[in-house]
């Protein structure tokens, strides 16, 4: 392990180039540390996103050596081969500048998939009672920890090939809501996630599950949606 990292960082928008930087290599360094060093010490015009720095917010997601990761949780020692790093913005999203992507489409698709809770109880009603060990709640709990970081969306080839595809995150969130026994928008939701732009476009590559930093399985959620939608369609409810 030498004392210098050779880092190539994407500059520009959709068209641009990788710019090389030499960064001192330190113990326990993360990729976010590297990007921060470049922007503070070498080139203040570098644009990138971060917030919490501790693996909770998902803002720092970027493509590192070809794979989407949280840069604050990626140790350089784990990914740098021959002291080299290639850092690019997330895939499948418009590039605003350098390492910053426009997440609008990602969140718009979340809404399109009816990824919002819709209940009918009022403040004056009694609490809904949901047993945590009930079958549906267990399924929800397995998938609920998504923080919308975009890593799965960036890794999904179907998103690349079909720009209208809702994508793993939106569908995963929809799955947590289809299993929420309090939610009353199930019919609209199943219609929203069905079809060529919905869960049926998933080919089970499982790149999403492979890369999710929270170890969620959108693949599992999407398979579940396929079953639910088929059952509903056969009853004429789609």
């Amino acid at each position: 392990m030498s004392s210098t990292l050779r880092v190539r960082v994407w500059r520009g928008q959709e068209s641009g180039r990788f710019e090389p930087f030499d960064v001192p290599r330190l113990e326990s360094q993360t990729v976010l540390d590297v990007v921060t060093y470049i922007q503070r010490r070498l080139d203040p015009t570098l644009s990138y996103r971060f917030a919490c720095r501790v693996g909770m917010c998902g803002s720092c997601a970027m493509t590192v050596n070809g794979k989407a990761r949280w840069t604050c949780r990626t140790h350089v020692s784990k990914v740098a081969e021959d002291d080299c790093l290639e850092i690019a913005p997330l895939h499948n999203l418009p590039v605003v500048k350098d390492l910053v992507t426009d997440m609008t489409a990602f969140f718009d698709k979340w809404a399109e998939a009816k990824g919002q809770f819709r209940g009918e109880r009022r403040r004056t009603d009694d609490f809904a009672r949901v047993k945590p060990e009930s079958r549906e709640r267990v399924l929800v709990d397995e998938a609920i920890e998504c923080i919308g970081c975009g890593v799965c969306y960036s890794s999904c080839d179907v998103v690349t090939w079909k720009p209208e595809y809702l994508g793993p995150a939106a569908l995963n969130r929809a799955w947590t809501l289809t299993n929420d026994v309090r939610d009353v928008a199930q019919r609209e939701r199943l219609s929203a996630v069905a079809g060529d732009a919905g869960c049926h476009a998933c080919h089970t590559h499982m790149s999403c599950t492979e890369r999710c930093p929270k170890f969620l399985s959108p693949s599992k959620s999407i398979a579940g949606l396929k079953r639910l939608v088929l059952a509903a369609a056969l009853k004429g409810k789609v």
Binding site: E112, K114, R118, G119, E120, V158, W161, K162, E164, V184, A185, E188, S191, A192, A194, G195, D196, A197, H200, A201, H203, K226, V229, L230, A233, V238
Partner: protein, 131 residues
């Protein structure tokens, strides 16, 4: 802006597709259903082929088993129909995703392909069952 009433219906997403949502779901379901049928047909076919090619394969050997045989006629008839359903739907996805061909023209092309497979397949079944 006040939040919408909890009981108001949510606006549905527009579906810019040449097929209705229901048709899209049914196409997917048809592909999976035909896949299940084909799983049985292909297993039988693989076993048959591997058995049949022992000591070489002659027309006489094939035709002596298939000619006038209702069982094989039904089996291969079901096989042909399943392929005619399964292959075009699969190819439709492949074409949409690789060369970005979508819309009504692709749907019609795949329908034509399905019909062609059914016709050629029926002809082949007829050839070995009736002769």
């Amino acid at each position: 802006m006040s939040s919408p009433s909890p009981t108001a219906p949510l606006p549905l997403r527009p579906h810019p597709s040449s097929l209705s949502l229901r048709a899209q779901v049914l196409l997917w379901a048809a592909q999976r259903a035909s896949a299940a049928v084909l799983a049985i047909c292909v297993l039988v076919h693989l076993i048959t082929i591997i058995y049949a090619v022992r000591n070489g394969l002659t027309a006489a050997e094939i035709l002596s088993r298939t000619t006038g045989n209702t069982g094989w006629a039904i089996f291969y008839g079901v096989f042909v129909v399943s392929v005619a359903v399964h292959a075009p739907i699969g190819l439709r996805n492949v074409l949409a995703e690789t060369i970005e061909w979508r819309g009504r023209s692709l749907d019609i092309a795949m329908l034509v392909l399905g019909i062609a497979i059914a016709i050629w397949g029926a002809r082949a079944v007829y050839a070995v069952v009736v002769g």
